[in-house]
Symmetry: C2
């Protein structure tokens, strides 16, 4: 943990807790906290499985519960396109609709709109784009995104930000930061207006997103200005999109101390086990990532030992040993490597389920284990 923050922890005890986040320990391996949402508490650090259109690929909600997932992420872009936020609102909101009564976070839709290459026009009000489903022309800006997310009814909602590739010239990143900050103000205004019509127990938490590419001064500027506006939590966006791991961790290390101690910090799109450990040690509390599932579907398994298993290798065709005898996934304790290889080779969906369950189980266990280790590590609080 950054020395400045440890100092903050020691001297400003009154700032350790906000209504939505309680910092329980600040140790050298990371922060242990408790995030309160309208649908219950989430122990942090936390990894959120990504249920794009309201469901995981290959895993049932019951599997996620069994593996200990405490929070789910759904994509606003996909749900806006189908079935639409009005339909979901009619169902009683996202929790009723998808049948998940623990907390849910929705992203803003910005990442999809900017990355799906479907953009027609970017203005100061938002983005005009084409639906990838039917080509329809659609518009989402900060106001629309927050309105959609309020209708969906998630526990944590995200500001609509501009997320350019980190490889574009500095002046483009700079413009994206300014637009992100202008939009953040609109998001907060829209959020407060919508909250004023809702029961306070149902107010979602609104997170701001720090952009700025790999430029430390732009990251600083964005973080400081977002903190001035004031959000319930802060995300670091625009990372894990091509920059080196070292660059990513340097930015995390640079940004975290600029954020309030008593607010949760969410590193978007990161979920590699070692990267999560490194990011937690630098002060991050929340993660989401589709990579563990994508790698699983391609036969790359995370073993509980920390090793990798590329199950497509020919040598596994006759390896009839158990996939991972100490796995937190019951399927990996039941089935053999040769069977899993056969299923993936034959295109049998059960193979994907076994592989996805393994990677999700190990990912969730890694974060849980980090939290457990914090109990044994001296806190500076």
């Amino acid at each position: 943990m950054h020395r400045q923050e440890a100092h903050l922890c020691k001297t400003k005890r009154s700032r350790y807790a906000s209504p939505m986040f309680r910092l329980l320990a600040a140790t050298k391996i990371g922060r242990k906290g408790n995030l309160s949402t309208p649908h219950g508490d989430v122990p942090t650090p936390v990894f959120m499985p990504v249920a794009t259109a309201g469901a995981m690929k290959g895993l049932a909600h019951t599997d996620l519960e069994m593996l200990g997932a405490s929070m789910m992420l759904c994509n606003t872009y996909h749900l806006h396109l189908q079935p639409g936020e009005n339909s979901i609102a009619n169902a009683g909101g996202l929790h009723s609709f998808v049948g998940w009564d623990k907390p849910i976070l929705t992203d803003s839709g910005g990442f999809q709109v900017f990355s799906l290459r479907s953009i027609r026009k970017i203005t100061d009000d938002g983005v005009e784009f084409r639906s990838h489903l039917n080509g329809n022309s659609l518009f989402i800006g900060p106001k629309e995104s927050i309105t959609i997310q309020h209708k969906l009814g998630a526990d944590i909602i995200m500001c609509f930000d501009e997320c350019p590739p980190s490889t574009v010239p500095r002046n483009e990143i700079e413009a994206a930061v300014e637009r992100t900050l202008r939009w953040a103000r609109v998001c907060k205004e829209t959020h407060e207006e919508l909250c004023s019509k809702k029961d306070p127990s149902k107010h979602p938490l609104l997170f701001g997103i720090v952009q700025g590419g790999i430029h430390m001064d732009l990251r600083s500027h964005c973080a400081v200005e977002l903190v001035k506006i004031g959000f319930d939590g802060y995300a670091i966006g625009g990372l894990a999109v091509g920059e080196s791991e070292q660059e990513m961790l340097e930015i995390v290390e640079h940004v975290c101390p600029l954020l309030p101690v008593d607010r949760p910090r969410y590193l978007m799109g990161v979920g590699k086990l070692e990267q999560m450990r490194s990011a937690v040690a630098r002060g991050i509390d929340m993660f989401d990532c589709v990579l563990p599932m994508r790698e699983a579907r391609h036969g790359s398994l995370y073993l509980s030992s920390g090793e990798r298993l590329r199950i497509s290798g020919a040598s596994y065709a006759e390896d009839h040993s158990i996939i991972d005898p100490h796995s937190p996934s019951p399927l990996s304790r039941r089935h053999t490597k040769s069977y899993l290889r056969h299923l993936l080779h034959a295109g049998e969906r059960y193979g994907e389920t076994i592989a996805c369950m393994q990677n999700m189980a190990v990912t969730l266990q890694t974060v849980r284990e980090l939290r457990r280790q914090m109990n044994e590590t001296g806190s500076s609080l």
Copy 2:
């Protein structure tokens, strides 16, 4: 139940039980029995889920266990092509390989070879065909099929039969019956030779298959001759392939009384709920069918009330009621119709899982319920 058989039941009590099948009740709604196999007992009537290449689509083995499946069917053709029976034998047999310790039945491969339109040549020794995976030329006859099935290590194995479409001319059906009978003798010889090298506790049960299309005299001839050869159980094949339901049930009603009372009877490829009830009432004990899963994937759901639900209907887009509040599937008690429709519409695999779980749960419950009702119905035993 056929009167003649009820009479048999009454007068020849000593014949009610064989080492592998105990007839517990013969009621007007059907036979209740117990089938003993190397991997444990199976209460009959029984429906066997089809795990083609060793796995179901959309369901985990743990789901099948939770829903009360007591026996699984695997396809010899698919497992022979990949990963191959030698690989499975090296894994310790099919049960170890697929991670299922309850009984397994393998079919002979005949149905696939004859229906995949991959035939190159049929001789008295067997069938030369092309693999649908890589075009390789392969050969399976009665000897090969039984040898493969013994290597796979299932609990119940099937004779290699010729299964022509029921629409072909009578003389072709007649020739197929004669070939099926010749092959049945080879199957039994091969089986006995292979059994002589195995521990008796591991001997699989060998079932003969009655062919004959919709011709009663050919069915009679085939049944009588198979019984003379003598098998552990008898299947009725070549049905549910285009003939009317009435024709099918007439053949079942005609063939069952020709089979020994103390042997299990298996109606291949039938799994429609009402047809299973009708077939059980005519003396059938065992079923398998891929239809419930195929219909599920296409959004046709079997409700526990007995009704059907075509979830793709536009009216379900805003129907936020629970799929089936009294369902034996926990997923259907948890999720709504609108959510399931959304998932299937969006191509999300979890939709298939919810639908498959529902149809499998209702199918297994229907057969279990039949068995329960037999307890309340007077037996003629």
